[in-house]
Amino acid sequence: MSSSAPLLHGVVTVGDTLPVLVVDVTPTTVVLGALASRDWRPMHHDYKFATERNGVADIFLNTPNQAAWFERYLTDWTGPRGRVGRMTFRMRDSVFPGDEMTFTGTVTDTGVDDLGCGWVDVDVELRAAHGTRGDRLCSTCSARVAIPVDADDNPWSRTAEQWRP
């Protein structure tokens, strides 16, 4: 593996779309994500609790795991030099086992701050499709990601005073 040939800021323009990511969600997807984030709450591993207490269709993806999926989606596109500065997401519906989860993304802004850091703003949609639950918009995410302005730039090298996410 190599960190060469990074996505550079100059080639990204507003309206660019990110490659689509499609993932089949299983109970393991949900439970593994919850346990990886040390989220022991039962609605993420206990079907009876989720359906009878929370009143939802099944166990569902937890919040930190959704964040991790958004991070993966963004850095799949940027490569390892991409450094996520911030993300804000709203969970409108839950993602359940049996769903086909689809991520799409669009660049909404680009810019270079006065410290020379190149930023791209990306809106991401997470949709879920299921035979009986239908096609739902589950989450929307707005992210701000630093990517290199040239081949020698490395956003990760920016220390606190040079980093304005």
Partner: protein
């Protein structure tokens, strides 16, 4: 104070803007949770899998940024602990205060600052920002609240800031 101007009980209003539960993790940041997170999301980012890439870009391994919150999550059980051990205690305090048995998170913002590294010991504090008046959604009736969390490492460096919106609710027809 609340997001829609509704009155809040005094004991809740007094907590708005006040740092609560300042605490330090009981364990160091380590790499296995990063790998678990990468596995859970099928994330092949070489920054986390290839030591040479990590050395080149970040001067050695860092934690997957979105693992930020997990370092302050308690063990499910530990000697001497009674009852369920929960993260984000303010969220559970509000559920109890308003007698709302169920809750979900609806919004999350994460701002990433200095990268977290294996061996770090993370501290945090929670700040209640707002509580809504009564609301009804498809899940039930309850209230929304916003809680901010600041995370620092053992050197006092800011490593991240999070904001959660939670919805505590009682399913329609459920009795207290």
């Amino acid at each position: 104070m609340s997001v829609d101007g509704s009155d809040l009980p005094d004991d809740v209003a007094e907590l708005v803007g006040v740092p609560q539960y300042p605490s330090t993790a009981t364990f160091d940041v380590e790499r296995s949770y990063s790998w678990d997170t990468l596995a859970a999301t099928q994330n092949g980012n070489p920054l986390f899998w290839d030591e040479a890439v990590a050395e080149e870009l970040t001067g050695g391994p860092i934690a997957v940024p979105t693992t930020l919150s997990l370092w302050m999550r308690p063990h499910f059980w530990e000697p001497g602990a009674a009852g369920e051990q929960v993260a984000l205690q303010v969220h559970f305090d509000l559920k109890a205060r308003f007698d709302l048995p169920e809750a979900v998170m609806t919004d999350n913002t994460i701002i990433f600052h200095t990268p977290v590294r294996p061996g770090d010991r993370i501290s945090h504090q929670q700040v209640l920002r707002s509580v809504s008046g009564p609301k009804t959604t498809k899940l039930g009736s309850g209230r929304f609240w916003v809680i901010d969390i600041e995370y620092h490492n053992q050197r006092g460096e800011l490593v991240g800031v999070e904001s959660y919106t939670g919805f505590g609710y009682r399913r329609d027809g459920a009795s207290s």
